[in-house]
């Protein structure tokens, strides 16, 4: 128990070390979440667009969307 308190105290610099690590974690988590959410949203948008596109595709070839 004492060990843990001692460790958490970081030699008296707890007020600096833990916030620093916390902020880093927070930023990384936020970046991860926004990126993954963007990927999910884009997949949904793409499948929605593909669902209605094939009807028209034969008539007008959309430029820059092949492949």
């Amino acid at each position: 128990m004492e060990d843990i308190t001692n460790y958490l105290d970081m030699g008296g610099h707890a007020a600096f070390v833990w916030p620093a690590l916390g902020v880093a974690t927070l930023v990384i988590v936020v970046m991860t979440i926004t990126s993954l959410r963007a990927l999910r949203a884009s997949k949904i948008a793409l499948s929605a667009a593909e669902a209605q596109a094939p009807l028209r595709r034969s008539r007008t070839t959309p430029v820059g969307t092949d492949g």
Partner: protein, 239 residues
């Protein structure tokens, strides 16, 4: 016009296959790295326990500079060869770079208070990193400032190339001007002037950060590609 998107499609497929592996590697490296950084390494005899800040501060600093370099290279590719993947890579990387730069600034400040006695000094190293942060913000803002995404990408590419002069300034500012900040001790031409007990966790964390960056880059690029394709499909359907 058509060959341009054949390439991104192949990229998308490869990225989808690589992603699980790189994600797994990132998690594994983080677990090992954090173990070494927080538990298996001693406190520095000068800096005490605050040295643990270094294990996020320094890798973030490296990534933030490497990311900008990556953006600058991609921008050159986009402007010269007009490769559409380069545009997408650049604009996917920018928010990540901004995030890492923010980590550098905040952890640096939190480290500065106990070691230098102040949160912030206006010296060349800190200033040039702040400029880097603004350059990232400018890049993101410029990318999104136009209704035509192509125009945004090209403008941002020009900015990225112009702003690249800042990178050597960050790197060498501590050598060119005497400042409070540490000079390079790991990335030197001769052998690293640093204790292996500290070097090990530092390198492990740096590796973890690198893998994290690459994984997120792939995720964001895939998202961007999907969104671009969806928009193109919808617009052609609206004809």
């Amino acid at each position: 016009m058509f060959h341009r998107f054949a390439n991104p499609a192949r990229f998308s497929r490869i990225a989808a296959r690589v992603l699980p592996w790189s994600a797994a590697a990132t998690i594994a490296l983080f677990v090992i790295g954090i173990y070494f950084a927080l538990f298996a390494s001693p406190a520095d005899f000068q800096q005490g326990e605050t040295v643990r800040i270094m294990y996020v501060h320094v890798p973030s600093a490296w990534i933030s500079m490497a990311c900008y370099t990556f953006i600058a290279v991609m921008s050159a590719v986009a402007l010269i060869w007009k490769h559409p993947l380069a545009d997408i890579a650049a604009r996917s990387a920018a928010p990540l770079g901004a995030g890492f730069t923010l980590i550098v600034l905040i952890t640096g400040s939190l480290w500065g208070k106990p070691t230098w006695g102040t949160w912030w000094v206006w010296d060349a190293r800190l200033t040039s990193v702040l400029v880097l942060f603004f350059l990232y913000l400018g890049h993101i803002a410029l990318t999104n400032a136009f209704d035509n995404p192509q125009r945004g990408a090209r403008a941002a590419a020009v900015l990225a190339l112009v702003g690249f002069v800042n990178i050597p300034i960050i790197k060498f500012s501590v050598n060119w001007w005497n400042t409070l900040h540490q000079p390079a001790s790991v990335t030197r031409l001769d052998a690293p002037a640093i204790d292996p007990a500290i070097l090990t966790p530092l390198l492990l964390m740096a590796l973890a950060f690198t893998f994290y960056f690459l994984t997120m880059l792939l995720v964001r690029m895939r998202a961007d590609l999907n969104a671009t394709r969806a928009r193109a499909l919808r617009l052609s359907a609206a004809e």
